[in-house]
């Protein structure tokens, strides 16, 4: 498996999980932690670990006994929401392995693929239009963010068709200009319509991103990579600065 890195940029391409380029299915990345599915080659896990372990914990886990963890859970630096079929052991493991300020909550939502139904960063979430009212409240409480029910290019699985961080976002290629503007206003970040893994529209399946790093599947073309690098502002990102910034604000809260 090859990785493409240049001196200043923090974007890792060429990832595969057992011959699948769907990086975003088997991992979940936020500014405070990273979850990686069990199984797959050690290469997959070690790419995340070598890049992130100095800054944030990288935790191997399953959810509901499956490896498709990226599609089942949703979270940000404040918390992690897992579906009702997460086992007690998995829940305990997550609580033990993640930092104390990250609240891990199991929720009773019938749309159990939370990662497909919810897309969020540290400030805003977009959700599936049929999500329970109660779930919406939990998202707002636990993740500490504002929630908007939306569709993306006519698709209700907003968590699948976009990926956004606190600095930028990539959405379904068929999103109209008007929708792009509207979403960009809601999210308060620049957005671009594009593809991942050589023309795939399922953005969130093919990549995972936080404020300083992105991991993309091995089919991603050079053009797609340059779009990602530019919209997520990864070129000059410095992880330690971002995490220190976060830590400072946390300390302020306690005082």
């Amino acid at each position: 498996m090859s990785t493409i890195t240049s001196l200043m940029s923090r974007i890792f391409a060429g990832l595969q999980f057992e011959n699948s380029c769907d990086v975003g299915v088997f991992s979940k990345l936020t500014n405070a932690y990273c979850l990686v599915a069990i199984g797959g080659s050690e290469n997959f896990y070690s790419t995340f670990e070598s890049e992130l372990a100095d800054v944030i914990p990288v935790v191997k886990t399953s959810i509901a006994g499956t490896r498709i963890i990226g599609r089942l859970c949703a979270g940000n630096k404040n918390g992690l929401l897992v579906p009702h079929n997460t086992t007690d052991q998995e829940l305990q493991h997550l609580r033990n392995s993640l930092p104390d300020q990250v609240v891990v909550q199991r929720i009773e939502e019938k749309l159990s693929a939370l990662g497909n139904c919810i897309a969020c960063n540290d400030h805003v979430a977009l959700t599936h239009t049929d999500l329970d009212k109660e779930t919406e409240e939990i998202i707002a409480d636990v993740l500490g963010i504002e929630v908007f029910r939306q569709t993306i290019a006519g698709n209700i699985l907003v968590g699948s068709y976009c990926a956004f961080s606190n600095r930028g976002g990539l959405v379904h290629p068929h999103t109209s200009i008007e929708d792009l503007d509207e979403l960009s206003t809601l999210l308060q970040v620049p957005l671009v319509a594009g593809t991942i893994n050589r023309g795939s529209e399922v953005i969130a399946a093919g990549m995972t991103v936080n404020d300083w790093t992105a991991f993309c599947g091995s089919d991603t073309t050079a053009t797609e990579l340059s779009v990602i690098e530019s919209v997520f502002k990864l070129r000059e990102a410095q992880p330690s600065a971002i995490v220190d910034e976060m830590r400072k604000s946390l300390i302020d809260t306690y005082v």
Partner: protein, 297 residues
């Protein structure tokens, strides 16, 4: 009075192969297909050169609710197409476990297949917006593509899994100095593809090969397909494999690591792969036998 056919409470529903609304409805068709034995009374029409198949239908509206008991079948017009670059994702999904769980240049392999527009067929629906690929069949000349990374990795895989000492010499020469005369038969389809499509698919492939190569003789090397074995009894997942096995010069079995969708009847069987080498001269007999097998069942 005939009993109503058993439904989901007796039979494990077939899992969809990919995640899309269409794949889910296809999976439901498969479940209904397993249950409804009178499917074969359905209308079948071959439309000239296009080889279209029509399945008897009920309505398509029931795909909206996941919980509803699916009552009938979905009407599907299958059509055969030349491989195109657009088909990349569909073909790649079908070939996901081609080399079991080995990590290799699958994308490169798919590119080779799609680059060969004169030989090979992709089965899709007539007017499908999802562009879902139901089956891919093609033949790749091992000599022509010997410098490609994916072919090198594939050869390495085949040599590694062959534990039968008497066969490995044959395999080595087929992959090595005889490679120019060897075609790798790549054939993969969704588990519930109607078998009626197989004879025209294979006919089309072998016709295209002969048109593309005129009088050049080739050995067709049928690569691993999944078959299952229980003691002495073999159950072939793909019906054409049984015919090819009988016609093959030699073959060997190897265990598979990847999980496959296991139906209720096959749960005591062990999933095994098979590699077969078939002489080109045997192909016309293969075609006849395949027609006979599908048309009688």
């Amino acid at each position: 009075m005939p009993r109503k056919p058993a439904r989901h409470h007796r039979l494990l529903p077939v899992r969809p192969l990919t995640f899309s609304p269409f794949a889910r409805s296809v999976a439901r068709v498969a479940t209904a297909y397993l249950v409804k034995h009178h499917m074969h009374d359905a209308m079948q029409q071959f439309a000239g050169d296009e080889f279209k198949e029509k399945l008897k239908n009920v309505d398509r509206q029931s795909e909206s609710s996941e919980d509803e008991e699916f009552d009938g079948v979905v009407q599907a017009d299958f059509a055969f197409f030349d491989p195109k670059p657009d088909d990349f994702h569909g073909v790649k999904t079908l070939l996901q476990s081609y080399l079991d769980n080995k990590q290799w240049d699958l994308s490169g392999f798919v590119d080779l297949i799609l680059g060969q527009t004169t030989v090979g067929t992709v089965v899709k629906l007539e007017d499908d917006e999802d562009n879902g690929v139901f089956s891919i069949i093609t033949a790749l000349n091992l000599g022509r593509y010997k410098d490609h990374k994916c072919i090198t990795e594939l050869k390495e895989f085949l040599l590694n899994i062959c534990h039968e000492i008497d066969k490995i010499g044959n395999l080595r020469s087929l992959l090595g100095d005889e490679a120019q005369k060897v075609g790798l038969l790549v054939s993969q389809c969704v588990v519930n593809l109607p078998p009626e499509l197989l004879p025209p698919l294979y006919d089309a492939l072998f016709d295209e090969i002969s048109w593309a190569t005129e009088d050049e003789h080739k050995n067709a090397n049928q690569k691993r397909s999944s078959s299952t074995e229980k003691d002495e009894a073999f159950v072939y997942i793909k019906p054409e494999d049984e015919i090819l096995h009988k016609l093959s010069m030699w073959s060997f079995l190897f265990p598979l690591q990847t999980q496959q969708v296991a139906t209720h009847e096959l749960k005591n069987y062990q999933l095994t792969g098979i590699v077969m080498a078939v002489k080109a001269e045997g192909i016309s007999s293969f075609r006849q036998q395949l027609h006979a097998l599908i048309n009688e069942s």
